[in-house]
Symmetry: C2
Subunit: 255 residues, 2 copies
DNA sequence: ACAAAAGTGTTTGCGTTACACCCATGG
DNA sequence: CCATGGGTGTAACGCAAACACTTTTGT
C-alpha cells in the first residue's frame, strides 16, 4: 500500500533544514493548512495519509501560507504540490485551534532526532489549522513528498487508524461535510471516472453515507436529477445483464 | 440607534496604546476572530456592528486569541467581553484569509491619526480571521467597547451598509449557515424570548430565509416537531383571537 | 355585525420506500 | 436453464403546498 520508499534520514534532514531556514521569511507564522484528500477507487472511499519516518502515527497532508498569498490559493497550491494535479475540487470546511494538540510532542521529539533543532524553532510554535477537503482521482495522483513526509498511503475511510493531533476529528468533519455536499451540490462526480455504472455510483454514496441504499430507488433518484447522460452498455464478460455507462453532464453542474 | 456615546479621541488613544503594548506578548500573531452577532427584536433580524471614531464604514466585532487559549474559548471570551452575556450560542462557520482586504488601509490611516503609531505595528500585520456567528437576546446585551470601538449599532439584516474588509461576505455566509442550522438544529429558539407566539416565530424564519412562508403550514410544521409546549393565551387587546404562547421544551433540544 | 388575526381540516401532488417483476448475459 | 446482476413498474406512505373554513377578539 505504501506509495513511496522511505527517504533516508539524511534526505529528510536536508529537507527539514532547508524548510526551517526558509519558513520564517516565506510563510505566515502560526497558521497551517490541513487537507483531507478523498478518492474513490475499487469501490472504496479513501483518504491520503502520510507519515514522517518511522513515527507511530500517520497524519493529514498539509502546508503553509505564503506571506502574500490568499488562503484559498495556498490550499490549492499545497495540494497541487502534493498531488501534481490541476483543477482539483477543494472546499474549506473547518478551522481547528486547540492550544494543546494530541501527541504534538512526539513530532517535535522525532524532528529533533532527525535534525539537530533548537528548542522553540519555527515548527514548535502553536498553529491554527484551516482545514479543506479535496476530491481527486487516485489513479492520476502521483504523490510528491514535502519536507516532513517519508511515506504516503491511501487508507480506506473505514480503516483510518488513530492519527496525530486532532486529525481523526477533522476527517470525521470532512466526511460529514462531503455527505451534505453530495446531496446538495452533486460533488460526487469529482470522485468518479469520466464514465461509470449506476452500481459504481451507488457504492460511492454508500461509502460516504456509511449505509446501504436500495438499488432500485437509488437508480430512479439519480436519473430524476437529469444530470446523467446514458451511454452504451458495458459488456464486462460477467454472467448477467450488461449495465449502462453514464456520464455526468457538466453543463448542468452547479459547482 | 447608536448604543454608545462616542469615546473622546483621548480615551481611544489611551485604549489603543494600552492594547498595542500588551498585544504582542498576549495574543497569537496573525489570527483574529470576527463574530456575526444575531438578534431578533421587534420582528427584525439584526446584526451588531461597530465603528471606530468617525470612520465611514462599520465592521464586525471581533477579537484575538490568547497564546494559551483554545480557539473556541477565545471566540466565547471576546463575545462575553463585548456583550456581558454567559451561555451564548456560538458556532464557527468560515475562515477568511485573503492577502488584501477591502479598505484595510483607511483603518490604518485612522489609527495613525488617533495614535502616533509606527508603520508595521502589530495591527498592520496580515490577519487570517476565523468567523463565528452568535445568537443573543438583544435586550440582555449591554455592549462593552473594545479598544477600537466608539460606537455600537444593531442593524437590520436587510439594511446592512457596505462594511470594512470582506465583512459583507462574512455576514452573508453566516446567514446562509444560520438558515441551514434553523432547519436542522432548531437553533432559532436562542433568538426568541422564553415565550412567544407562533406569529413571532414565523417572522424569525421569514427573516432568516428571506422569504414569506404560508402561515397555516408553518404552524403545522412547527407543532409537528413536538418541541413546543403550548401555554396560556396572550390577550393583547387587539380585535382578534388571542394567540397561544409557546415555550421551547429544552429537554428536546439537540444542540 | 364586522374586520383582523389565530387555529383547524382537507385536498392534491410529489418524492421516497418497499417490493414485485422482467431483462440480459455467460456458464 | 439457471444464477447473477441490471432495469422498470407500482402501490403505499408521508410530507408539504394550497386553500377553504371556523374561531376568537375588540370596536
Amino acid at each position: 500500500m505504501s506509495l513511496m520508499k522511505n527517504l533516508s534520514d539524511k534526505e529528510l534532514e536536508r529537507g527539514i533544514k532547508d524548510f526551517l531556514e526558509a519558513a520564517p521569511k516565506t510563510y505566515l507564522p502560526g497558521v497551517s493548512i490541513d487537507t483531507v484528500i478523498f478518492s474513490f477507487h475499487n469501490n472504496k472511499l479513501k483518504v491520503l495519509l502520510l507519515r514522517l519516518g518511522d513515527m507511530p502515527y500517520f497524519s493529514l497532508p498539509g502546508g503553509f501560507i505564503k506571506k502574500e498569498e490568499n488562503l484559498d490559493d495556498a490550499a490549492l497550491r499545497t495540494l497541487q504540490e502534493r498531488t501534481g494535479l490541476e483543477n482539483i475540487y477543494l472546499e474549506q470546511f473547518y478551522t481547528s485551534g486547540n492550544a494543546i494538540r494530541f501527541n504534538e510532542n512526539i513530532v517535535h521529539e522525532k524532528l529533533k532526532t532527525l535534525v539537530n533543532l533548537p528548542d522553540n524553532n519555527w515548527l514548535q510554535q502553536r498553529f491554527i489549522s484551516v482545514c479543506y477537503y479535496a476530491l481527486v482521482d487516485e489513479t492520476k495522483v502521483n504523490p510528491q513528498p514535502g519536507p516532513f513526509t517519508s511515506e504516503f498511503q491511501w487508507v480506506d475511510i473505514k480503516k483510518v487508524p488513530t492519527l496525530l493531533y486532532d486529525h481523526n476529528l477533522i476527517i470525521q468533519k470532512a466526511l460529514n461535510r462531503l455527505a451534505a455536499d453530495l446531496d446538495q451540490k452533486l460533488v460526487g462526480f469529482n470522485l468518479m471516472n469520466e464514465t461509470f455504472t449506476m452500481g459504481e455510483l451507488q457504492k460511492l454514496y454508500e461509502a460516504v453515507y456509511q449505509k446501504k441504499l436500495v438499488r432500485t430507488n437509488f437508480q430512479r433518484k439519480m436519473l430524476s436529477l437529469n444530470v446523467l447522460e446514458r451511454l452504451e452498455k458495458q459488456y464486462n464478460g460477467k454472467a448477467h445483464k450488461a449495465p449502462y455507462l453514464y456520464r455526468f453532464m457538466e453543463a448542468k453542474c452547479k459547482c
